[in-house]
Symmetry: D2
Subunit: 140 residues, 4 copies
């Protein structure tokens, strides 16, 4: 299996298509069926106590599986999240960015399944785990 | 089972503790083991095409189970989300607010489980479903 | 929405197609987008301590959403489970049968989503909650 | 982190405590925070068409996280499954045994989180993915 989008193309796609959140995320690495994405944590992502909010981790997992999928099928498709399951296991380190390690477990014609481990940068143990299903609409 | 917080107390708690998102949510109704919460949808919650973003729906489900729990155990506790599972079933109506109907299925000493149906206001069929587990830290 | 299979037709289908487990389950009630199924609990479903095993509850949730789906689309389809999320909330009563209350939240062309509450017969509070997605293969 | 149970001790525990299903499973390998378990597939695990049943895969995932946990905390504890999320991604090969590769992502005092990839023996791509949470009751 080969990549249909390079690291630069994925970051350009993110900037062009997701203006509102483009500054929040950066693709650090991409490989067939895998991607590493960073979330740049700022004040708006924090909850009282300085911890990163759940919705921020959700958004990171969601965009990670999406971009890992587009890297394999190209930028044309309009994939839609249909299911997510997440476990929040540790409190993210205050003020640290997050890094999501994503691998696609299934890349079907209709359904894509990926799983994601999220780390506070500089830490070895994951703060959260996610698995997501994307549905790929049939080509017209 | 009796409520330990009224509708007004829940909304005041939301305003005081979650400044950053307090304008986004409003508790519409609360009853033992149940709550109805509205998400006020603005531009920052939308994705290209005008649809409400996944993280917005996640945040609504998360805050809904949290507030339904506090209504039962009082505002002192520091509950932490440990697990969420969501199904995204329909595209939310563009420009419509969301309404989350939450019921608690288990209110244990250590774990709380709730489920949530999310609707676009004015629609009969849910746009998303969530189930969440909160862990309640042992009292010191 | 109308039913395409009656209560008797669903039970006959269960007997004919799932010989190995047909004695384990009985459809008690069916309505549009809803079904109630009983699991007849015997020794083979128990774990040490007399509690009903997790796989038995999984099987009940799985067959319940499957049969609720077939009631709506007819017995021809070959639906496949793609995702399940379950919360185990209370210990099932020893020796009691289980009753699953299922409702379909989405009945799409490609994906069906249902949720299930499982009760020990005679009890008011659910022992488990499940949500499941079935994929319906495209007609050839 | 060190193991508190060896491979032989885990298999002996399985035989002694889970008589009804002891023949179904065999621990192939154990390491800190990891275990590999085989499910021996026979007629009773199959569905029409020769495929392995969902409940069999559920049972394999469940026992795998349980044994990986006991390997770390010793055979005394009575851990209880509180949540499972599974994705069924491919049809298991007919007649092939299953192999579950489990890793523990969190080993807390109260909650353990593990994830599992299930393979048909001899195949490279997983047939299913599971994540599970076990609750560990407080010591008395």
């Amino acid at each position: 299996m080969q990549l249909k989008m390079t690291l630069d193309e994925l970051n350009d796609f993110l900037d062009a298509q997701f203006e509102q959140v483009a500054d929040d995320f950066e693709v650090l690495d991409v490989a067939p069926m895998r991607a590493t994405i960073r979330a740049n944590i700022g004040d708006k992502h924090l909850r009282p106590g300085g911890t990163v909010s759940g919705p921020t981790m959700f958004a990171l997992a969601d965009v990670s599986v999406y971009l890992a999928t587009l890297a394999m099928i190209g930028p044309k498709a309009l994939a839609v999240t249909t299911n997510i399951s997440m476990d929040f296991m540790r409190k993210p380190a205050a003020g640290a960015n997050l890094r999501a390690e994503t691998r696609l477990l299934k890349l079907g014609k209709m359904l894509v399944v990926g799983d994601v481990l999220i780390f506070s940068e500089g830490e070895d143990e994951p703060v959260a785990r996610a698995s997501m299903t994307y549905s790929i609409p049939p080509a017209r």
